[in-house]
């Protein structure tokens, strides 16, 4: 497994940089050319949502992206620091640890006018091969993945 991590200030201008980095690494990891537009759009949506949330709740905090290849999958995790307690409350298990939420289910829960986030997550759910969303009081984590060549970053 090889991982690239990137943190950036919650500024709209940096979302494009995050998209470019994610697309470049996806290509290097062996994601099919036909899927690269989907990676670019999904990562852009996740980062835009995070930037909008940070601008409301915590403009000084950075947003983190992890990109890794593991067992033939290219996986991107976008983590923000804006509280999503309402989502956590709606989806948490009784006395259990935070559980991932299916992207489509979460999108249906979010009001459409909440930072366009419900819309953005719905788009991500349609684009990524697999999406999991982890809401918590400390922020929202969106993990998405696509199939990649098994000889990707780790051996390139």
């Amino acid at each position: 497994m090889a991982t690239v991590e990137l943190t950036f200030s919650a500024l709209p201008a940096h979302v494009r940089t995050a998209r470019l980095v994610a697309t470049a690494i996806a290509r290097r990891t062996g994601v099919a050319e036909s899927l690269l537009d989907e990676v670019r759009l999904a990562v852009g949506e996740a980062c835009s949502r995070a930037v909008e949330a940070h601008r409301v709740h915590c403009p000084g905090e950075p947003i983190r992206i992890e990109l890794c290849d593991e067992a033939g999958r290219f996986e991107v995790t976008v983590t923000d620091a804006a509280p999503s307690d309402d989502l956590e409350e709606a989806y948490k298990d009784e006395d259990g640890p935070p559980t991932p939420v299916n992207g489509t289910a979460l999108a249906s829960l979010l009001p459409a006018d909440t930072l366009m986030s419900g819309f953005g997550i719905a788009v991500i759910a349609a684009l990524a091969d697999d999406v999991e969303v982890y809401p918590s009081g400390k922020g929202l984590r969106i993990k998405m993945s696509w199939p990649a060549a098994t000889t990707g970053l780790a051996t390139a």
């Binding site: 709209p12 979302v15 494009r16 537009d37 366009m116 819309f119 719905a122 684009l127």
Partner: protein
Amino acid sequence: MDLKLDHHTEDRLTIVEVEGEIDVYTAPRLRELLIDLVNKGNFHLLVNMEKVDFLDSTGLGVLVGGLKRVRAHDGSLELVCTQERILKIFRITGLTKVFGIYASVEEAKEAHGRDK
């Protein structure tokens, strides 16, 4: 690539030329232009997206906002787009049923002429 915007009016139809990327950073400029055009009485808009490289949900929100504004004046906001990568996001979100989408400016102008 940044966003380049231009517009001109032909026979009551205002054609907005968009080039580059429409995302969370650049979408406010397109929003301002659409609001300005509507405020100046341009209620029939055609947004040419043939040179758009990237469009996300923020950009879609701006287009939907523009459509809402022109409809308040019995106007229209239609699009020219043949790029599959851009059309895909309209399909995913079901917005192909909301916007008139044409293959060329000429085709849109013909349709607009028929509707007048």
